[in-house]
Symmetry: C2
Subunit: 331 residues, 2 copies
């Protein structure tokens, strides 16, 4: 007989999660110095410096479909999207709290896979589950609140200065490519398409980038979750500046080029969920960053002009039409 | 024409919330030293000592009904239930992150009332909204993750010692009384019933209790959210001890006694959501606490025996039947 989450009930599920967490935390040494973990009124830990926090949710049929994402994927991605926001402050992720909205008929084995995804991401990035809540919900959702710490001042979106250059930490558009392949539902039979889908379902982050707050000369930073053009416009708006970029400089992976030869550039400009960093700062600093990270590239500069504006030039130096820049893409 | 939240869309709603928050924060000085508030990848603040965090959600038709709770009530209570968990660690609440699950047809004016409830509780307790997320959801839900700080070691559930006495910080059962009056749907025409309903819909906490971690002699503490018997059993289980209490010593308000004369004692033992504190510690310390807080009372003691057990004696010294102690009350 198939056991569902409602067969167990809230208390037994929470106890199950507590056991999972305790077992998995024997496998690695987390960054955080815990005084009290899950199981009390609140978790408690020793801190130094500056704390940062963010929250992000994944909702069934909005951010994923159960037909194209495994439960492990859902858990993994929920955790990693939050890590990305912490790293984008130049802060080290410590741990997070997980609220699960579960359909009553969800199978216990699927619940276990979901938590396996969360705890595998925890281990990969030396973070911990600090607490959580479980509620009944028609649509499956995972809401994570992540906490991190930063020795120096965090890097905000608002620090871009006229004359700064703009860089990205890696190739863009891959996650959108993966999503389109999944939505088409066609047979996945190339290595390139498998890699794009992997980037959509199981994104990775680079925790070393959390150290960027120690480098002078990076003036503004954010993670690329909604798409380069939208996110750059947000950063420019926060900083009160205008920006221009060269479309041909935006890094595109061989995989995206191969699977979407005619649309790769547009996908790199507009596709979200790549969880690469958008960096703005002094030319020398970002040139040095790009030299040390071969997938990174300088793509444009900060200029005087209308607050929040983004102008895109093509390889021939012509200004591109931005009619597809849709701010309200979730509406 | 009535405007709904989906008429505005996610970005406009988030901007609306940011404006609300900025306006309201001009009205008071929060505890937290913010470096970056809402609007960046993450919020950032300066810390000292120990940090604590907790999360708790309220879901329509599980934790409240829209027919008996105003939107203001829902916002207020979501915030305060989380404050209560932070205070129960002996920590000062600083701020929280709010994830809202909104039905598409929710009216914008109701959204505003919901946030007014959250921000009114923020002001009352000098806390701030540090971030959030807005998602579409069939059932309305509010999920809050709260962060606090503690100068000394936080007070855990696990510190109760044999020989300790057990106290509660105020009268119990009122919130259950209020809930029953709301569910009965009868006309509310007495001052007593109005007060009970107020305790259910708009609970209050005492932030002074956050200082209890500075007092030696309080060994274990938690907030009473699920009901005295269940919560005491949890604390006893965490501490590896047994407990006994005297039912007649549990404080009952005049209002509960008046509205539920035959059931008041049972309601005080089993009713949840009072958000009073359960304190365990040295007799002198808790006697002193009770002397300074007239609504508080010593109700029992920690004994050797089966881990997690709670024995209740009636006024004649007879052991009471606990067949109504239902751990799986959410199932």
């Amino acid at each position: 007989m198939m056991v569902t989450v409602s067969d167990l009930g809230e208390y037994a599920l929470i106890e199950r999660v507590e056991n999972f967490i305790q077992l998995r935390q024997l496998e690695y040494r987390p960054e955080i110095k815990l005084i009290a973990g899950i199981g009390d009124d609140a978790a408690a830990w020793q801190v130094s410096g500056i704390q940062v926090t963010t929250t992000d949710s994944m909702v069934e049929d909005v951010h994923f479909r159960r037909s194209t994402f495994s439960y492990f994927d859902i858990g993994w991605k929920s955790w990693v999207t939050n890590l990305s926001d912490i790293i984008a402050m130049g802060a080290t992720p410590l741990g997070g709290l997980v609220t699960l909205g579960l359909p009553e008929d969800m199978l216990l084995e699927d619940f276990d896979s979901l938590y396996d995804g969360i705890l595998s991401a925890c281990k990969e990035y030396r973070t911990v589950v600090l607490g959580g809540d479980i509620v009944a919900s028609r649509a499956l959702f995972v809401s994570v609140t992540m906490i991190g710490s930063c020795e120096k001042t965090p890097i905000l979106r608002s620090g871009a200065q006229i004359g700064d250059v703009i860089a990205v930490s890696g190739s863009l558009g891959d996650a959108l490519g993966g999503l389109q392949l999944l939505e088409q539902g066609s047979a996945i039979n190339t290595e390139a398409s498998r890699r794009l889908i992997e980037k959509q379902r199981r994104p990775k982050v680079n925790v070393d980038f959390a150290q960027l707050s120690k480098i002078l000369g990076i003036h503004a930073m954010m993670d690329l979750s909604d798409g380069l053009l939208i996110d750059l416009a947000k950063l420019a708006h926060s900083s009160g500046v205008a920006t221009q970029i060269q479309a041909s400089l935006v890094p595109i992976s061989d995989e995206l080029q191969k699977e979407f030869p005619l649309k790769a550039e547009e996908m790199a400009l507009n596709g979200g969920e790549d969880y690469e960093l958008l960096l703005v700062g002094a030319k020398n600093t970002l040139q040095d960053f790009v030299n040390r990270h071969p997938k990174a590239a300088i793509i444009g500069k900060v200029i005087e002009g209308e607050r929040g504006s983004v102008t895109v030039f093509d390889a021939s130096g012509f200004e591109m039409e931005l009619s597809d820049l849709n701010w309200e893409h979730f509406k």
